[in-house]
């Protein structure tokens, strides 16, 4: 589904990703773990199409489609979703208005018509209830006055509504207490499906207690330096990243 080959990317001429390879198949959950500064968040932004980053070498395809040939909104319409580490606040744009704009923009990009408002409202209510998102929150400005946990739940709500093929979760566990972590993880698990894949980026192992990965990768200095099963996460939790920082630098 997602195929990344020899990816190099830099920001302001500073190389961050240095030859990253990653293959993710439909239905799989891959965890990418690594120390701060290893390029985990950069990978998520480069895939989502943030302008600040320049891809200098390599390729990334989603179901054979060249992601780098698409603008950020086109990548989303092609089925890519990035759950932000720090979801942004947009005062004046009601959450509901934003959700509707996103759902309908993607439908239009796929040649489908806008979802009729009553149907859209019903759909949002269904998905929002499961995530404990109140009607009041949906009326408020996007993420404005939301707690850290509410912002992350709102990310999962967007994911649930947009039904992407590939979900990239960037440090979704950061800033969450244990209860919020459970709600968010349950939301993600509910979306696991045969035809959908996940790349879960995290510094800590604790998120992976709730979202069990099929494959765990260790990232350091802009590349994947080790790949293993779920047990690798526990090993990292016990031993830390010190080994990998040295290895990649060598």
């Amino acid at each position: 589904m997602l195929s990344i080959k020899n990816l190099h990317a830099s920001i302001e001429d500073k190389p961050i990703l240095r030859g990253l390879d990653l293959e993710v198949k439909p239905g799989e959950v891959h965890a990418i773990m690594g120390p701060n500064g290893s390029g985990k968040s950069t990978l998520s932004y480069v895939l989502a199409g943030k302008d600040d980053y320049e891809v200098t070498e390599g390729s990334a395809t989603l179901d054979g489609q060249d992601l780098f040939a698409l603008a950020a909104d086109e990548r989303a319409a092609a089925g890519l979703f990035l759950a932000f580490q720090y979801p942004l606040e947009i005062p004046g744009v009601a959450t509901m208005t934003f959700l509707k704009a996103a759902v309908n923009a993607q439908r239009r990009a796929r040649g489908e018509g806008d979802l009729p408002t009553p149907q859209f409202m019903k759909l949002v209510r269904e998905k929002a209830d499961g995530l404990g998102i109140s009607t009041d929150m949906l009326k408020r400005g996007l993420n404005v006055g939301f707690s850290g946990g509410e912002k992350k739940r709102n990310e999962i709500l967007q994911m649930a509504l947009l039904e992407p093929k590939l979900c990239v979760l960037d440090e979704t566990d950061s800033g969450l207490d244990i209860d919020a972590l459970k709600v968010v993880s349950e939301g993600v698990n509910a979306l696991r499906a045969q035809n959908r894949a996940f790349v879960v980026i995290t510094h800590y192992q604790r998120l992976l207690d709730h979202i069990t990965p099929d494959v765990v990768h260790v990232m350091a200095k802009g590349r994947i330096v080790r790949t293993g099963g779920p047990e690798l996460a526990h090993e990292l939790e016990a031993r830390g990243y010190a080994d990998y920082v040295g290895e990649a630098a060598a």
């Binding site: 302008d51 909104d73 990548r75 989303a76 932000f84 947009i90």
Partner: protein, 439 residues
């Protein structure tokens, strides 16, 4: 005296003199009104069209913006009236006492003059001949010698006189609609409104034109007596070739309340002047506006709020979104006169630049002669936040649509303060139309 400036007359100045000379005898009014018109025109002639060398017009060079003077419009024909009917469609759902002028001429078939008891709405041309004319042509609030105001007093042939009796709350809004139809002409309009003690009214003034290179000049004189409240919503949606000059002059009594919103959506060049004078203690004014401009359009908001009483508060908030090579000017001044203690004034002007070529000039000023006051002003000019745009795009929302959502949010803050729901919708729809046209 400035002999050098006066030695050469521009084509527009010469044409205005000729038009005045030939129109003068036919303009409505008794001999006192005629005298008032002549004085006003002489004041204009002495000063001429202001260039950027006149401080008040530094950013809006009227001499350069007004190359010629358009002839005064004739009576509208059936086709023009039909076009005007179509142009008024967005307001059809707003139940109001409606006074419609097409090309500056009152059109009865597009008007509904019915009012509730205690509210009177009559035509200015009648007031000009029944002894009340001179008063109606002298607002006493706008700066002496202001060219836009002087030209209006010299040329205005009709308009509306509104009177709300003491203690009366007007049950319907009063809507003065000005529609321009035809190829090119000048049209003048004036609203003279008085809200008696404890009265309450919502005034709507709209300017609509879909084509034509017109020159429009409107004045609203609003007198809000002690304990009274007035809300005024102005919607300027002139054709994109029109030069629009407008003045709002408000005198507030004690414990009075003013709430005003001005939308600038049209015109090639528009200047909205707002002069508010606090003459009684304990009054409040909320003065807001929003503007949109693309291409090489020019939008000027010039504002003076004069605190000459104790314990009054004023809030000024203007937001403008600019695209293409458009330019906005905000000149706002809060004056606190000696003795106007406990004044609370806050002014904010914000411009959003959607292109490299757009420009916003902001000149906020405070002039304070009292020592126990709280006053502040701010001005921001900036582009849309790329981080926020990326967040929206990452959800599949295309660039232009993402920009539109953010511009809506930007101007929404002031538009949402319009209390009348139907009117708020008209303004919101106009904003959306501008944003959609950009995409």
């Amino acid at each position: 005296m400035n002999a050098e400036v006066r030695s050469i007359r521009t084509a527009a100045e010469t044409a205005l003199s000729e038009i005045f000379a030939s129109a003068f005898a036919g303009l409505p009014g008794d001999s006192a009104v005629a005298e008032r018109r002549r004085t006003a025109f002489d004041a204009f002639k002495a000063a001429g069209l202001p260039s950027r060398r006149v401080e008040d017009w530094k950013y809006t060079d009227l001499r350069a913006l007004m190359r010629d003077a358009k002839p005064i419009a004739g009576a509208p024909d059936g086709v023009m009236i039909a076009a005007a009917r179509g142009a008024l469609a967005p307001y059809a759902a707003i139940d109001a006492t409606r006074v419609t002028f097409v090309n500056g001429r009152f059109v009865e078939e597009l008007s509904d003059l019915a009012t509730a008891e205690g509210v009177s709405v009559t035509l200015l041309k009648d007031a000009l001949v029944n002894g009340a004319g001179v008063e109606a042509l002298s607002d006493g609030v706008s700066p002496a010698g202001n060219v836009a105001v002087a030209l209006n007093a010299a040329f205005v042939a009709d308009g509306v006189v509104v009177s709300v009796a003491p203690g009366v709350t007007a049950s319907r809004p009063i809507h003065v609609a000005n529609v321009q139809a035809g190829s090119e002409h000048a049209a003048y309009g004036r609203v003279v409104a008085r809200v008696g003690e404890g009265g309450n009214v919502l005034l709507i003034e709209s300017h609509i034109g879909d084509a034509g290179a017109h020159q429009t000049n409107s004045v609203i004189m609003l007198d809000v007596a002690d304990g009274a409240r007035a809300e005024l919503v102005k919607i300027q949606d002139e054709s994109l070739d029109t030069l629009h000059l407008a003045t709002l002059a408000v005198r507030l009594g004690a414990k009075a309340e003013l709430k005003t919103f001005a939308l600038a959506a049209g015109a090639r060049a528009a200047r909205q002047q707002i002069y508010v004078s606090f003459t009684g203690d304990g009054s409040t004014a909320e003065i807001r506006g929003a503007g949109f401009a693309g291409a090489s359009r020019h939008l000027d908001t010039t504002l003076v709020v004069d605190h000459d009483a104790v314990g009054c508060s004023s809030r000024e908030h203007f937001k403008t979104a600019l695209d293409g090579e458009a330019r906005s000017v905000f000149q706002g001044k809060i004056v606190v006169k000696p003795g106007a203690q406990k004044t609370d004034g806050k002014m904010m002007a914000q411009a959003l630049l959607l292109s490299e070529g757009a420009e916003a000039d902001a000149k906020p000023e405070l002039e304070i002669f009292a020592d126990d006051v709280v006053c502040g002003h701010g001005a921001t000019v900036g582009a849309l936040d790329d981080e926020l745009l990326f967040y929206l795009k990452s959800r599949g929302i295309p660039q232009k649509e993402a920009e539109a959502l953010m511009v809506q949010a930007f101007v929404g803050e002031v538009i949402e303060t319009i209390e009348h729901e139907g009117l708020r919708e008209v303004v919101t729809d106009r904003a959306l139309a501008w944003l959609t046209a950009r995409t």
